[in-house]
């Protein structure tokens, strides 16, 4: 650990359970007497409900209850929070079924609960409502005047010549747009909730954080966290949408308490577009100044993203611009526009993926303006230390990454002139970009239990939304103790386990992994004291001792050794700037007559410290790049602003990339330990896999065609009309 020693590639420890159907997801748990909840949602974007008729639904077969704002059981924690939010908009808080107010289209207006799903669905179709409509505003472009500085993010300026981006010898200005993107994990969101009495709640949830779900529910119902069981062992993809416990999930728990029955809610696919967040529609302006020979003199980057009228969603869209390049004068601004829409939420590469599209496209544009190779331009403006925080990077192997990636894709062999390369009728283009994300580490706790049979059980209240958390943790434990992989078992997804943070921000391996590292180290110490040692994959008696593990345990009247450790970074983290980096190279084909773009080859290099689990790490990169292909070429949530409603809220019309869109993705890891971040020397990688990728594609499209597409996704119509 923390050394140059490479980790061995092991298979997912839960792979077999997943492919054989043994792994259980929240909706699959069978609870006796479970009932089914179906939501009726609003068909207007703003206004009030004037009448809601639930009579026919209530009389339909199997129906147990229909809850609307007229009879919804109170949620004490919600009532306590003030009624107005301190937002730029001063908007009203959203209290699901708390009043007759409609704040967005698709807002739940009734919960229909029945003894079977089909009966609940049928009854839900019988609920009718009439509205008093108000004017709604869902189009960011038409509401730019409402743009306001978010409460938690100020403007940033460095340098004495704040106008350098306008006055430099070479100036480049451009606007970039990204559409609404929707996480759309395969598994639908929801919850299964049941109570014992009035104050003991159990939920099976789709969540990226069992502890945060526990906290949210405890706050909502004003009961002790200890009285709330949260289970979420397997999650069928999250990408950020599971970082909140959503109002409808809390409401279902309230309904379960009122009915004294288990209630299960699984969202429909169209509800996934409105009720569990999305990547916000964002417009960006970049203005960049450089010398004739390509030295950056000034960057101005302004981003304006959407939020809901009832929440001040904020993300780090312009963060990368502040430190990525050695530029003396940098100004960034970030604004949010409150709209009559469901609130956005972090989506893989939150903020940075949006910002990197603009910044890394602009860098490419500037490189062409000063007649430089985009790679050379990046190297010329390379930041050796973090110019924002004025600190050294804990590790930064970008230069090596640029070299490895460009070598692999054959960057130097391309003809850099735009629209110069062809294969048959297709135009060929190469593009590159950089991605970056904070190498976060949070506090995490892990319990270790060494059993008499020599197996090791590790437990932590973390989550696994797909990256293979257990596999990485088992591998860390294996490397610390030497115990063989098959003897180590890692359990997560249970809020009763020792606390850890949510799975988000690429921090799990760093945070939970450190706790695993520490607890295993502590366990080694315990064994030494007990005259035992880890040796050759098992536990043996130490040199000169004869008692076996079983002997020692029975003499101490124990069935297992147990130790719990909490772990967090120390003061050394403050001295450094901690980031993970990625480089993306994409080779595309563009058909000039049909405007079709195909990604033909991808090389992605990650500088994410030491790679703890090579196989799942490669899968992370492949998954992230696939998300990046979607962002670049296919994904867009479309709203008809006349109605404030989505017009493609299904997987046939919202285009997630399919296998045919995804070429072979070559993943390269620098795999060098970071000396600062954590004892494993790892840095996060979930986000950097996606961040920047869309710019690599857009830059490749430019190289292929000479056309700059500054609005994602790059669909055939945009190529034809550019």
């Amino acid at each position: 650990m923390g050394t140059d020693k490479k980790s061995e590639p092991i298979n997912r420890v839960d792979g077999r359970a997943k492919v054989t159907g043994k792994a259980k997801y929240f909706a699959e748990f069978e609870v006796p007497g479970v009932t089914y909840c179906v939501m009726v949602t609003s068909t207007i974007a703003r206004g009030t409900i004037t009448t809601i008729n639930t009579k026919t639904a209530e009389r339909a077969p199997g129906v147990l209850a229909v809850f609307t704002h007229l009879n919804m059981p109170a949620i004490p924690g919600w009532a306590e929070q003030g009624s107005n939010s301190k937002l730029p908009s001063g908007g009203e808080r959203y209290r699901m079924l708390g009043s007759n107010k409609i704040l967005f289209n698709g807002q739940p207006i009734a919960l229909v609960i029945a003894d079977t799903l089909e009966r609940a669905q049928h009854a839900a179709s019988l609920v009718t409502a009439s509205y008093n409509k108000s004017e709604h505003h869902t189009d960011l472009l038409k509401n730019k005047e409402k743009a306001a500085m978010p409460p938690r993010m100020g403007d940033y300026t460095r340098g004495s010549d704040t106008n350098a981006h306008n006055t430099a010898p070479v100036v480049m200005k451009a606007d970039y747009t990204i559409p609404i993107e929707v996480h759309n994990p395969m598994e639908l969101a929801g919850i299964l909730a049941f109570w014992e009495g009035d104050d003991k709640l159990t939920v099976y949830a789709k969540t990226q954080g069992v502890k945060s779900t526990q906290r949210t529910l405890a706050g909502a119902f004003k009961i002790d966290e200890k009285n709330i069981q949260v289970y979420s062992e397997f999650v069928g993809g999250g990408f950020g949408m599971g970082l909140r416990t959503w109002p409808q999930e809390v409401a279902v728990a309230a309904a379960a308490r009122a009915l004294k029955k288990p209630v299960k809610l699984v969202l429909t696919r169209d509800q996934m577009f409105t009720l569990v967040g999305h990547r916000p529609y964002t417009i960006q302006h970049i203005s960049m100044g450089a010398t004739q020979d390509g030295q950056l003199l000034g960057i101005y980057h302004e981003a304006t993203g959407e939020t809901a009228s009832y929440d001040d969603f904020t993300e780090g869209t312009v963060g990368m611009t502040r430190f990525m390049y050695a530029c003396p004068n940098v100004t960034t601004k970030y604004r949010i526009v409150p709209l009559d829409r469901g609130v956005p939420i972090w989506m893989r590469g939150p903020g940075e993926a949006t910002g990197a599209f603009a910044l890394e496209s602009a860098i490419d544009e500037m490189a062409y303006k000063v007649n430089m190779d985009p790679l050379q331009f990046r190297l010329k403006n390379f930041a050796e230390t973090d110019p924002e925080k004025n600190k050294p990077f804990s590790s930064n192997n970008l230069k090596e990454a640029y070299e490895l990636g460009s070598e692999k894709i054959g960057w130097a062999k391309r003809n850099p002139a735009p629209a110069s390369m062809k294969e048959g009728d297709w135009l060929v283009g190469y593009g590159m970009s950089t991605g970056v994300f904070g190498a976060h580490r949070g506090e995490s706790t892990c319990r270790a239990q060494l059993n008499a049979d020599g197996t090791l059980l590790l437990q932590s209240a973390t989550s696994d939304i797909g990256p293979g958390t257990s596999t990485a943790m088992v591998q860390i434990a294996h490397e610390v103790t030497g115990l063989s992989i098959g003897k180590i078992h890692f359990e997560l997804g249970n809020a009763a386990f020792p606390p850890s943070g949510s799975q988000g921000g690429s921090s799990t391996v760093s945070s939970v992994g450190s706790a695993v590292f520490d607890v295993c180290t502590a366990l080694k110490g315990m064994l030494t004291e007990a005259g035992l040692t880890f040796d050759n994959g098992t536990v043996k008696s130490a040199q000169g001792k004869s008692d076996s593990l079983q002997d020692v345990l029975s003499k101490q009247n124990k069935t297992f050794f147990e130790v719990t450790r909490s772990s967090k970074g120390g003061a050394e983290l403050e001295k450094y700037s901690l980031y993970s980096f990625s480089i993306h190279f994409a080779e595309v084909r563009v058909h000039p007559a049909t405007g079709v773009v195909r990604v033909k080859r991808v090389v992605t290099v990650a500088d994410s410290g030491r790679i703890v689990s090579p196989k799942t790490a490669a899968s992370q990169m492949i998954g992230g790049v696939t998300g990046g292909i979607g962002m670049a070429l296919t994904e867009e949530g479309i709203i008809d602003h006349r109605f404030g409603r989505f017009v493609n809220n299904n997987l046939a019309d919202y285009h997630v990339p399919v296998s045919a869109d995804v070429p072979h993705i070559e993943t390269i890891f620098i795999d060098k330990p970071d000396p600062i971040t954590n004892p494993m020397g790892s840095k996060g990688m979930g986000e950097i896999a996606l961040i920047g990728f869309s710019a690599a594609v857009a830059n490749a499209v430019y190289h292929a065609t000479g056309k700059r597409i500054r609005e994602l996704p790059i669909t055939p119509d945009k190529i034809l009309s550019a």
Binding site: H122, R598, R642, F643, A652, D653, S659, A660, S721
Partner: protein
């Protein structure tokens, strides 16, 4: 979804009788479209008459061509050796549609009868004259990227989504239907309708009639065939524009040609004028381009689909070029 009853029939006669008896009954074939429409509340049959056991799934050679049963699965047709040999355009078009899973369920009759994918049609919170006559067309002035450039009306600008039907219309197929009044034949080009003032009517099948087969007459077009579908992702997406092109080329000249487009109109769009002009001309890109611009004569944009005015002719040229280049 409404409550409905379900029955299975095993003969054409019992199928027709079941629909004659019950005004709110509908045939169920693969169910890949009908069940979705039921789930979204667009269609609410009270009785489903499952016709999958009616023996209408054979694909056989007749004296004049191929006869394909209405219940033949899309996959079975696409993979059929006779189809691939005589009408590769049909096989290519089918394979460009939906996904393998859907094609394994979808039938030829169901594919012809599939309804538009216009979102305003699917979402009952939005106006749509096709779903609810008189409620207005939600698409006009809204999201029109996928919509018609030919033959639209002020009541409806939806397109027919099928790929298979583009090939069948190009190949001069003839549909046989049967009903309470007996059997009749409908040339493929006369089956689907333009929206006019009655967009609720997709086609000319009478209520209670059952599609039993499609006949495709032999031709000399197999050697130079190409189905080109332009879409937003590489697979599993409806056409922005698709073109079915088939030619017989003799000594560099076009002896016979068929051209049809998908994704541009309320029905599969045959390009007869362009075909007539191309006949006996040499198979050059220049001629293809002229034919394509001829085909676009009456095209009209709805705003969001303006790009189709460029994409459609380009796709015609590309399809013809590729077809011509085949050895």
């Amino acid at each position: 979804m409404n409550q409905f009853s379900y029955m299975r029939v095993t003969s054409k006669e019992s199928a027709i009788a079941a629909l004659a008896k019950d005004k709110a009954a509908m045939f169920l074939a693969g169910g890949t479209n009908l069940v979705d429409l039921m789930k979204s509340g667009v269609t609410s049959p009270e009785r489903l008459v499952d016709i999958n056991n009616v023996p209408l799934a054979t694909i056989e050679e007749t004296k004049t061509g191929l006869r394909i049963g209405a219940l033949a699965k899309n996959t079975a047709v696409a993979e059929n050796a006779l189809v691939i040999k005589h009408f590769p355009l049909l096989s290519q078009a089918l394979k460009a549609g939906a996904s393998p899973q859907l094609r394994n369920m979808a039938t030829v009759g169901g594919n012809m009868m599939q309804r538009t994918r216009c979102h305003y049609f699917y979402d009952s919170a939005l106006p749509c004259n096709k779903r609810s006559p008189g409620s207005g067309c939600g698409a006009i002035g809204g999201f029109t990227r996928m919509h018609a450039i030919f033959g639209a009306s002020d009541k409806c600008i939806a397109v027919h989504p099928s790929d298979m039907c583009v090939a069948l219309t190009a190949l001069d197929a003839v549909i046989t239907v049967t009903g309470p009044k007996g059997e009749r034949k409908i040339p493929f080009g006369d089956f689907h309708r333009l929206p006019g003032d009655t967009p609720e009517q997709d086609n000319n099948l009478q209520r209670g009639e059952l599609i039993i087969a499609v006949d495709i007459p032999f031709n000399q077009l197999a050697a130079h065939t190409h189905y080109l579908k332009v879409r937003d992702r590489a697979s599993y997406a409806f056409a922005l524009v698709s073109v079915g092109a088939a030619m017989q080329i003799r000594g560099g000249n076009i002896a016979d040609v068929r051209l049809a487009m998908g994704g541009v109109a309320h029905k599969p769009w045959r390009l007869k004028e362009a075909e007539a002009w191309l006949k006996e001309k040499s198979a050059t890109e220049e001629n293809f381009r002229k034919a394509a611009s001829m085909a676009m004569a009456n095209a009209k944009s709805q705003g969001g689909n303006a790009f189709k005015l460029t994409l459609a002719p380009n796709t015609i040229v590309e399809a013809l070029k590729t077809a011509a280049a085949q050895a």
